[in-house]
């Protein structure tokens, strides 16, 4: 049996180190009641954006649904029945249920048995979750010794992305916006409270259906961005702009995708200069009681540039930075460069590492088809389009993508999600990733290509499922926070797996984690997974054992085994003995619903071993469109 304590202490140490490095933070003020949530998107006429052709009903199947969930919601936590239901609906109807910006999406993230925390009925802004998880509320199932760490934005975000009763799509997009598109960085001084306010400001703006340029404007006028770029010291005094151009440039470039190619000289010498002037007299107060900057800004007029400002060949007026940036954003969103670049940025960043000019043309066409830019409608239309569900598309997973797909696949309830056993924090740390501390600062966090080309990412994942194999195999967990008994039968039905036959369970697990319609579940993969499910042992052992038995020798004599043997796909497909062995393994059953505790637990351990194997295959590192 493994020693449970090191992992626990390591986790605490890592979190505490991070807390210290970030200068702490506070749980902040009380939370105002959330605004009423609008209805969840359904009911309207089916809208297909020009350029995004919705896939046929035949192509919209369970695999298609799972691919959308993997890319846009870390796999989600929907039940298999719900996934089947979505697959049986017209794609556009289904996607409106799947992808919403509300704080809660009960279909995508349903609460399950043993969920006493009632997340589905709580404020689920990041601030609301921070306040709950860091509190002594009797319903809070977070380990009391760790609650203080949940005032930190990354700690709370990790939990939000893997908790039932919330909305992993909201948090997927929230992370993308705040860690990639409009990145802010806690390691350079943006406080946790500023990040939380920034994150909530963006996700609430999206939820309320604001035109997208207003989402960007609100983000641009946040305390987090002011602290990140330092333009809160920009002042206009006696006709001179005491300014830096940092955010003035990145407002155009990073937020809107305007590089200035429309007129490079004008952009450099007029537009950026005047944007710096438009950002003057943003006030960010230093709170001497907290010894840090507050998480909101105010807009002064005393040191704000007077008169109209020529930006993007428009006259931008306003008495303060708020009015200027709100007005400027309405202009910027319709600049040709923004129209060209912004929609591509979303799709490349979220879903497609194989971008082509032909795809860009169609993506831009869809964006242009919305006079009022609506990110949700755009993403929904893309997610059911033949661009997403295309053999020409693939997406490498970032470390965060992969960990949360894995974690949402392996956990069955919030009790399990609250167990340190499944925490992604230390694994992500080992892969050099911490949310809200983006690797490239304002240019964003670890990219999918970074992850795909990194030996460190591969090695960390490999070693985690081998050296720390127990994470997914422990049948009864009592030492990692909330206690639970692993029960794969609670999510995997006997009827769908042929009564928990090895081959049925193999296909179930592959689809749950890899979601490729079994495309890459070849003979070789099946053989290895069968062995783990049948014997809780590797294929090399299983084949050796079978051959030793057939020779009438003692299978317990390990000296007879060739453990360095490589069994190829050709071996498995041509050697009758091996084929027979595979048939035998495939037909065995797991005791997942046995009344005997020991047998049931052994069966759950075997499933855990199979999961360890599956998530270490190449197919856990990327998704293909078809």
């Amino acid at each position: 049996m493994c020693d449970l304590s090191p992992i626990r202490w390591f986790h605490i140490l890592v979190l505490a180190t991070f807390l210290s490095a970030c200068g702490g933070g506070s749980s902040g003020s009380s939370v105002p009641p959330p605004p009423p949530t609008p209805p969840g998107g359904g009911g309207g006429p089916v809208v297909i954006l020009s350029g995004f052709n919705t896939v046929s009903d035949a192509a919209w199947d369970e695999t298609a649904v799972r691919k959308v969930l993997q890319v846009f919601a870390y796999g989600g936590q929907a039940t298999d029945a719900q996934i089947t239901s979505w697959a049986n609906m017209p794609a556009w109807d289904a996607i409106q249920q799947m992808l919403t910006f509300e704080e809660h999406n009960p279909l995508l993230s349903p609460v399950r048995i043993s969920n006493s925390d009632g997340l589905d009925d709580r404020s689920a802004t990041l601030r609301g979750l921070v306040d709950f998880w860091s509190s002594d509320n009797p319903s809070n199932t977070i380990d009391p010794s760790l609650r203080a760490l949940y005032v930190l934005a990354p700690v709370a975000w990790y939990k939000a992305a893997m908790s039932r009763g919330l909305n992993p799509f909201r948090h997927r997009i929230g992370l993308f916006e705040t860690n990639y598109h409009m990145s802010v960085n806690m390691t350079i001084g943006v406080t946790s409270d500023q990040v939380i306010a920034y994150y909530d400001g963006i996700t609430e703006s999206l939820e309320s259906g604001l035109p997208y340029q207003q989402v960007l404007a609100n983000a641009a006028l946040s305390a987090a961005v002011a602290r990140q770029y330092g333009h809160f010291t920009n002042q206009w005094i006696d006709g001179v702009c005491y300014c830096n151009e940092d955010f003035a440039r990145e407002y155009h470039q990073l937020f809107f995708g305007i590089l200035g190619e429309y007129d490079t000289t004008y952009h450099e010498t007029v537009a950026i200069k005047n944007t710096a002037a438009a950002l003057t007299d943003i006030r960010l107060q230093f709170d001497t009681t907290q010894m840090d900057f507050v998480d909101f800004v105010t807009f002064g007029t005393e040191y704000h540039a007077p008169g109209p400002l020529d930006i993007l060949n428009s006259s931008i007026t306003g008495v303060n930075a708020d009015e200027r940036i709100q007005q400027l954003s309405n202009v910027a969103i319709n600049q040709q460069e923004s129209l060209d670049n912004l929609p591509v940025l979303f799709i490349e960043g979220l879903a497609d590492d194989n971008m082509t000019d032909a795809k860009r043309t169609r993506i831009r066409e869809a964006w242009n088809d919305m006079p009022q830019k609506d990110l949700l409608r755009f993403l929904r239309a893309y997610a059911v389009s033949d661009l997403f569900h295309s053999a020409d598309r693939f997406k490498f997973f970032t470390s965060i993508d992969r960990y949360f797909v894995m974690t949402n696949g392996v956990t069955h309830s919030n009790v399990e999600a609250n167990s340190e056993l499944y925490t992604p924090f230390d694994g992500l740390q080992d892969e050099g990733v911490i949310a809200f501390s983006p690797r490239y600062n304002v240019f964003g966090a670890q990219t999918s290509l970074d992850a795909a080309e990194s030996t460190s990412v591969f090695r960390t994942n490999f070693n985690r499922v081998t050296r720390e194999h127990y994470r997914y195999r422990i049948p009864v967990s009592n030492n990692f926070g909330p206690s639970f008994t692993k029960d794969w039968s609670s999510v995997m039905s006997a009827s769908d797996t042929g009564g928990y036959r090895v081959d049925g369970v193999t296909e179930y697990l592959w689809q749950r984690f890899v979601a490729d319609g079994l495309k890459n579940l070849g003979t070789l993969e099946r053989a290895h997974i069968y062995a783990f499910l049948a014997y809780d042992a590797d294929l090399v052992y299983a084949v050796n054992r079978s051959e030793i038995l057939s020779q009438g020798l003692d299978p317990d004599d390990l000296s007879l085994y060739d453990f360095d043997r490589v069994i190829t796909q050709a071996d498995l497909e041509t050697d009758p003995a091996l084929q027979s062995l595979l048939d035998e393994l495939a037909a065995m059953t797991l005791d997942l619903n046995d009344t005997n505790d020991s047998l049931r637990q052994q069966a759950n351990v075997k499933v855990g071993s199979a999961v360890n194997f599956i998530v270490a295959t190449p197919y856990m590192f990327a998704q293909e469109g078809l």
Partner: protein, 463 residues
């Protein structure tokens, strides 16, 4: 006799036998465990963020208000944390800089950068001025241009090969990506488009490269069974390598970790991390500890030179986007790299002589900064910049006009920049040719059309 030859003669006569040039005892001891460094190696240090190289290499202060040396200090005083009084500029020039010259050009090297000064004195530093990669002043785009070595690279273009990857391929060697994540500089050429990273070895931690292989002598341990299963699976899977553009790379990654991980571990077990190098990775070491880790990786890569087949190495250092409080940021960061007892100085003390003789360091950012400080004690994005090429075989000196007088007439312009006159391609290609003869033109196919400052001849960059 050129500057370098004169310096070499002086060295031979013992005239410059000072701190940085005495072979250290640690180097001698360490070198005994290193393999012979039999091939030349290019080490690319990318300074992401657009460093203001002129901040650390400024012109001499000149009290004449019409001179370059006066107008520079007036325009940049705030970025240097100076008042608007010429006396403070004079004081800074006198007290904060080593004052050096090459021909008719007098300039300073910030006095915290003792190693750079020593290398300059030894004739090992080429400063190539008015160098340019991209001109959009967009960090991401210009970084891509420099990494790819492709001036035509557009913001929406998919990655192809980088110039480090192309050089490694041309030299039939490997490129070591020693950064936290490999950059496109390391990506190798592909005959079918895109890139091929067969020759790239990503090693963000040279001391942690192995895949867990189970519990020794316990074939039935739980961890042994899963690691053995995966090892067997990947070995079998690799037999079908080449069929899948998306997933093959992970089979390649597993192969490289198997092929290199254990031999590297075995080698490095015999070569402990020198304490001075280890210190650079610990709190209290460098300002940027990640740079310390990369230098440790580079040390270790040379220690495993024969295992790795290294011809190119990639390291980086970010944080040069100094829109505010420039002086307080750029100076300690540069000291990390060039200070005595810091970055490269420590590394050099622990590499064997044949490594130093066979290595060239290329140090560049994606663009330079504006000629005038902004209103926030910083500088905003510019265009041209200086590139440093450092090595024992380098013909040290100033290449290109370091302080063009015409800049003075543009100081009041809205966004005055150092005008880029020499495409970085020329500098990088010259380094490629030194690493492996006749590769510059292969690595940089557009060299013939790349601009080169009038009067500049980079063919003599190396001895």
């Amino acid at each position: 006799m050129n500057r370098r030859d004169a310096l070499k003669s002086a060295l031979a006569a013992g005239m410059l036998y000072s701190g940085g040039f005495v072979p250290s005892l640690s180097r001698i001891a360490n070198a005994m465990d290193f393999p012979a460094i039999s091939n030349r190696v290019l080490v690319n240090l990318m300074l992401n963020g657009g460093p203001d190289m002129r901040h650390i290499l400024p012109p001499a202060f000149d009290p004449n208000p019409n001179s370059f040396g006066y107008n520079y200090w007036r325009a940049k005083a705030d970025a240097h944390r100076l008042s608007d009084q010429p006396s403070s500029w004079q004081q800074a020039w006198d007290n904060e800089f080593f004052q050096v010259a090459d021909g008719g050009t007098t300039f300073g090297i910030h006095n915290t950068l003792g190693w750079l000064k020593n290398q300059w004195d030894a004739g090992n530093v080429a400063i190539v001025n008015n160098a340019v990669g991209g001109r959009t002043r967009d960090h991401a785009h210009c970084i891509d241009i420099v990494n790819q070595g492709d001036r035509e690279f557009t913001p929406n273009q998919a990655y192809a090969s980088g110039w480090g990857g192309r050089l490694a391929a041309a030299a039939q060697g490997n490129v070591m990506a020693l950064t936290r994540a490999p950059t496109s500089f390391c990506f190798g050429p592909s005959a079918t488009g895109g890139f091929d990273n067969t020759r790239m070895i990503a090693a963000s931690d040279m001391r942690d490269m192995t895949l867990f292989d189970g519990v020794t002598n316990d074939p039935m341990d739980d961890s042994t069974r899963i690691s053995r299963g995966l090892k067997s699976y990947y070995a079998a899977k690799r037999q079908a390598l080449g069929n899948d553009a998306v997933f093959d790379r992970f089979l390649e990654t597993e192969r490289k970790l198997r092929e290199f991980g254990e031999p590297i571990d075995a080698r490095l077990e015999t070569i402990p991390i020198p304490p001075a190098i280890e210190a650079m990775t610990q709190l209290g070491g460098l300002t940027n500890l990640d740079f310390g880790v990369q230098l440790r990786n580079l040390h270790d890569a040379f220690a495993c030179f024969d295992i790795l087949g290294m011809r190119v190495a990639s390291i980086d250092y970010g944080g040069w986007d100094t829109h505010e409080r420039q002086g307080g940021r750029i100076e300690p960061q540069m000291e990390d790299i060039f200070g005595l007892g810091k970055g490269l100085d420590v590394l050099y003390q622990h590499l064997p002589q044949d490594a130093l003789d066979n290595m060239v360091l290329v140090i560049a950012g994606e663009f330079g900064r504006q000629l005038r400080a902004n209103g926030d004690s910083g500088t905003d994005h510019g265009e041209g910049n200086s590139v440093l090429v450092i090595g024992n075989s380098v013909n040290g000196g100033v290449y290109g006009e370091m302080f063009p007088d015409e800049e003075m007439s543009r100081l009041a312009d809205p966004s005055p920049q150092i005008i880029g006159r020499t495409a970085m391609d020329h500098i990088f290609a010259g380094c490629c040719d030194w690493v492996e003869p006749n590769t510059g033109g292969t690595v940089f196919t557009g060299l013939a059309t790349a601009e080169l400052e009038t009067g500049v001849n980079l063919s003599g960059l190396f001895a």
